[in-house]
Amino acid sequence: MSKKSSEIPMAGNILEPGNAREYKTGGWRAERPKHNPEDCLWIKNGTCALCCIFCPDNAIKLSEKDGKFLYAYDYDYCKGCGICANECPKSCITMEAE
């Protein structure tokens, strides 16, 4: 994070697309989302997914394996904004202090 002027691309150009990945913003988090799978529609039948759609940091990883629907947070990038908790129609996400 402290390269010299001769070591960085000209004029602030960013040459690698998607390099925001290198900047782990999970450290900004004051509250972390906690997922309760009991009423979650994704876990139940692979629908809804509003939390994932609204997440501004693409930090909710939804997947399917062997007919089972899996749910995970990527805490490297989750800033703890709480949008997922706000959007969940079944109120199965709660925010807890770090």
Partner: protein, 401 residues
């Protein structure tokens, strides 16, 4: 160095062209990809002529008429970022409206050529020549070259692309001529054959262009952690101009027999007083020197051409043997201890063990004619101040007060 304006090889045509027309013709021959401009007197002929070349199918350039100079420079930056060779032209209020975007052009390291027909700033509104417009932009990161003749305006426009697009530089460049005094003055201009210019300027090789196959981000937010480093890069690039300028000019001289130097010295060798100025007053000052020399006066002229970057070290050497340097400039820097050109000159001389006296005369604001008599008056005053051993920081000449 002394300017060499020898008309030799290769045989192009000789035309009577105004300064504006000469620049337009040079742009045509430089095979620019995009020209985006908004018309403003006295730069108008450049864009008018270029639009005519376009309408007649003489150029393949994409000409983008825009609704303001702010947009003109913005369009230039976009085109240049995509790798195009780009030019525009402006003056006075137009240049002022471009201001914000000038810094974007240099900060994004886009080698855009901007022809400026120097014109006074409002208010009161005035269409005539002084240097307030481009002097105001002297810190914008643009290279600035000031031309004395239509031939030089033509030659400099051609060279400017090579200087700006050099990979050690990559900075935008202003080619400045005195509004009306040169922009509307028909002079003898020796044009180069198209293929000679084409070979000389070549095709721009862009660095990190916008490319959909290899996407990059340009002009991102950059705060306390890195902004300073990018300005350090820009400063270094500007310092590179000295060498690149010399190299490009040496090559140009080989092709055309003409060169101008970062500055031109005229009869300065044994001069007690050196008059320092640029653009059209520098020509008049040379005519004054010829007349004064016949009277036995030891006087010469140093005509600046490259104002940004400012060749301070070389200038100090040239001026060190003089007893006084009389600066003539067409700009008032309100509230400053002295005015832009003299500020630079004084700074350049500050470290000399034996400093010449510097006098600063503000002349010709708003197109007020600068006749030989005004230059002589400045010379006489400088002589008097030398005898007294003391001079004011600056004064205005040729104004009723």
């Amino acid at each position: 160095m002394a300017a060499t304006v020898k008309m030799t090889k290769p045989k192009g045509s000789i035309e009577g062209l105004t300064g504006d027309a000469a620049i337009a013709y040079a742009l045509k021959q430089c095979d620019i990809d995009v020209l985006s401009a908004y018309p403003i007197t006295p730069q108008t002929i450049i864009v008018e002529d270029y639009q005519r070349f376009f309408a007649e199918g003489q150029v393949k350039t994409k000409v983008i008429p825009v609704e303001s100079e702010h947009s003109a420079m913005s369009a230039c930056i976009g085109a240049s970022a995509a790798g195009a060779r780009v030019a525009t032209a402006s003056a006075s209020a137009g240049l002022a409206l471009m201001w914000e975007v000038l810094y974007c052009a240099s900060g994004m390291r886009q080698p855009i050529v901007l022809a400026v027909a120097n014109r006074a700033l409002s208010a009161p509104i005035n269409i005539h020549n002084d240097w307030s417009d481009s002097y105001g932009a002297r810190d914008s990161g643009f290279i600035q070259m000031y031309c004395q003749s239509c031939q030089e305006a033509y030659d400099t426009t051609i060279m400017s692309f090579r200087i700006a697009e050099n990979h050690n530089v990559l900075l935008p460049a202003m080619v400045c001529i005195d509004g009306f005094i040169l922009s509307h003055n028909v002079e003898r201009v020796e044009l180069l054959p198209d293929e000679v210019v084409r070979d000389f300027v070549g095709v721009r090789v862009p660095v990190q262009p916008l490319d959909t196959d290899k996407p990059i981000t340009m002009g991102p937010l950059c705060l306390t952690d890195y902004y300073f480093e990018f300005k350090e890069q820009e400063d270094k690039a500007m310092r590179e101009v000295f060498k690149v300028y010399k190299d490009v000019e040496a090559e140009f001289q080989k092709v055309t027999g003409r060169s101008y130097g970062m500055y031109e010295t005229y009869k300065t060798k044994d001069a007690d007083i050196i008059m320092l100025t640029h653009s059209s007053p520098a020509g008049t000052a040379k005519a004054v020197v010829d007349a004064l020399r016949e009277q036995g006066e030891k006087v010469g002229v140093l005509r600046m051409k490259l104002f940004r970057p400012f060749p301070a070290a070389e200038l100090a050497k040239e001026l060190s043997s003089a007893k006084a340097v009389a600066v003539f400039e067409k700009c008032l820097s309100f509230g400053a201890p002295t005015n832009p050109l003299a500020l630079e000159v004084r700074t350049a001389l500050y470290d000399l063990p034996k400093k010449p006296m510097v006098t600063d005369f503000v002349v010709g604001l708003g197109g007020r004619d600068v006749p030989p008599a005004t230059i002589v008056e400045g010379y006489n005053k400088t002589k008097q101040y030398l005898e007294k051993g003391k001079a004011p920081l600056y004064e205005t000449l040729g104004v009723r007060k």
